[in-house]
């Protein structure tokens, strides 16, 4: 059963057709990925799915609900979370406060509760803190709890973004190049982490990656796009052998 359906998606920037008539689906509980050359339109697809870009035309559905014309915050509330290709943390806030942001859409205390410190307010604060701590623990950066995000090592910042996304309790997690800048050992850790996200939380994962070794290891389904169009799709074995994909994206040499 598919969790996300993208149909005939199109995105135009002035004269540039960044995404062109793209359709694909993401199966529930899968780890899927989108690959393609730089500038193919992968991040743009993410931006449309999460509501940051408005598609020129086409349809996007999450669990049967159309996401077209919805604000990013609404889409997150519906069960989608993402990380950004260029990290978008809250740089001056602590790791803990960064992750607490994820719980915003799952809680509802307002001004009144805060002013009078009502019981339900206090209970919710406890819950927020607990969920945040769990997520931080889960990605393994508990030792940085009180450090401000901008002073974290780069890798830790990546994990922090994932923790923050997990705190929104998503059905679908979108990761934009999560392995960029990680060394081999760290990538192995990331692979474990992504698997655990799916297995322990039942969260479907869709990611963009350029690291073929990583893709081969965990991705069950790949969609390849070039110039905004889908040029191939299937399992890693199928796709990585595809001539078109090799020519446009992989190249002949082995670099990995």
């Amino acid at each position: 059963m598919s969790l996300l359906t993208v149909k005939n998606l199109k995105l135009q920037f002035g004269g540039l057709l960044a995404v062109n008539d793209l359709s694909f689906t993401v199966e529930k509980n899968s780890i899927s990925s989108i690959i393609g050359p730089n500038g193919a339109g992968k991040t743009s697809v993410f931006n449309m799915i999460t509501g940051f870009y408005r598609p020129t035309s086409g349809e996007i559905e999450l669990d049967g609900i159309s996401l077209i014309n919805k604000k990013p915050s609404q889409i997150t509330t519906l069960g989608m979370a993402r990380t950004f290709q260029n990290l978008r943390l809250f740089p001056n806030l602590s790791v803990l406060d960064n992750v607490k942001s994820g719980m915003h859409c799952r809680t509802k205390q307002a001004v009144f509760g805060a002013l009078f410190q009502t019981k339900s307010q206090k209970a919710e604060e406890k819950l927020i803190e607990k969920v945040a701590l769990d997520c931080i623990e889960f990605v393994g950066i508990t030792k940085y709890l009180k450090r401000s995000a901008k002073n974290l090592p780069y890798g830790a910042q990546r994990y922090l973004e994932i923790a923050r996304a997990l705190a929104t309790k998503p059905k679908l997690l979108l990761l934009d190049e999560p392995a960029a800048g990680l060394n081999f050992e760290e990538k192995q850790y990331l692979i474990q982490l992504i698997r655990r996200v799916r297995d322990e939380f039942n969260i479907t994962v869709l990611m963009i990656e350029h690291d073929m070794a990583l893709i081969k290891q965990i991705s069950e389904h790949i969609t390849v796009i070039d110039y905004g169009c889908k040029i191939a799709e299937g399992t890693p074995e199928e796709v990585l052998k595809n001539e078109k994909v090799i020519e446009a994206y992989l190249g002949k040499e082995e670099v990995v």
């Binding site: 991040t43 993410f46 931006n47 999460t50 940051f52 870009y53 950004f84 290709q85 260029n86 978008r88």
Partner: protein, 301 residues
């Protein structure tokens, strides 16, 4: 119809002043994203230093002051104030380049107060009457009158704007200015002496403001130590209306604001004209959030 034209001309003249000050505002903003609230006070300083120099050369009451003398005073004052602008940057802003932008805003207010009250202590609190006055000669056409001074003012600001525009768009220094606005560190990695370019920007901005300051003294006849405040505010408004950081925008914003005020005064009265001006500004920004010529911010996720 004549009335309409006449108001348009009245508005263009005020607008030309706004534009000149707005240019400096926009330049400094464009490069270090600083709303230099002290900019209007550099205009005031220009007016006062020009006043002193002019009084000096017109000791005889101004009868024998040649055009050359006046030109020298203009250039001299503008240079002095340009250097003053650089000095302000060096002392007050440079140490804060990496601080939160609001902190520099506060510094700018501090600088503004310092300049105003230095002037007050130096030249006194009351109005000074300018030593030279402009002749009233001009043209009459279609039942409207426009003086040569007014024509000169408008043409001069247009030329300055054009020159600046070319400088920023086409020269490598101009490009460096824009690059500094985006990423100072990366810019220094290109071999750009960031501080020097910023200082240059302040010089140009202050230079122009001083020019406008003297012109205002000569044109209106009086100056006082608070004169930079209102025009600073108006120039800021003009710069934003035009699209802050954009040279042509500042020019356009200044003129539009001037014309709006002139029509506002005429049709709804002087006390309400600012409501009209600000009201239109706000309405405009609602539909075009980055001003008349401001580039749409294209932020990638």
């Amino acid at each position: 119809m004549e009335m309409f034209l006449q108001i348009l001309i009245d508005g263009l003249v005020i607008g030309a002043f706004y534009s000149l000050v707005a240019l400096g505002y926009t330049m400094v903003y464009g490069i270090i994203k600083l709303l230099n609230f002290a900019h209007g006070d550099l205009y005031m300083m220009g007016a006062f230093i020009g006043f002193t120099l002019l009084s000096f050369i017109t000791g005889d009451g101004g009868v024998n002051t040649g055009l050359l003398g006046v030109a020298i005073v203009f250039i001299g004052t503008m240079t002095i104030v340009g250097l003053l602008g650089m000095g302000v940057e060096r002392i007050a802003y440079r140490p804060l380049l990496l601080a939160p932008r609001l902190s520099i805003l506060i510094t700018a207010i501090g600088v503004s107060l310092s300049l105003e009250y230095t002037s007050m202590i130096g030249w006194g609190a009351s109005y000074k009457v300018y030593p030279i006055k402009l002749p009233n000669d001009g043209l009459q056409f279609l039942g409207t009158q426009i003086s040569f001074a007014q024509i000169g003012m408008i043409v001069l600001s247009a030329l300055l704007m054009l020159g600046l525009r070319l400088f920023i768009d086409k020269t490598i220094y101009g490009k460096a200015m824009r690059a500094i606005a985006l990423d100072q560190t990366a810019c220094s990695l290109m071999g750009v002496n960031v501080h020097r370019i910023i200082a240059l920007t302040f010089f140009i901005g202050a230079f122009l403001a001083a020019g406008a300051g003297i012109m205002s003294g000569v044109y209106y006849g009086t100056i006082n130590f608070m004169m930079g405040f209102t025009i600073g505010l108006k120039a800021f408004t003009a710069a934003v209306l035009g699209g802050i950081g954009n040279i042509t925008g500042a020019m356009l914003g200044g003129l539009v604001l001037g014309i709006l005020e002139a029509f506002g005064t005429f049709y709804i009265g002087g006390s309400w004209k600012d409501v009209l001006a600000f009201g239109i500004l706000i309405l405009f920004l609602v539909f075009k959030p980055t001003g008349i010529l401001g580039a749409k911010e294209m932020e990638r996720m």
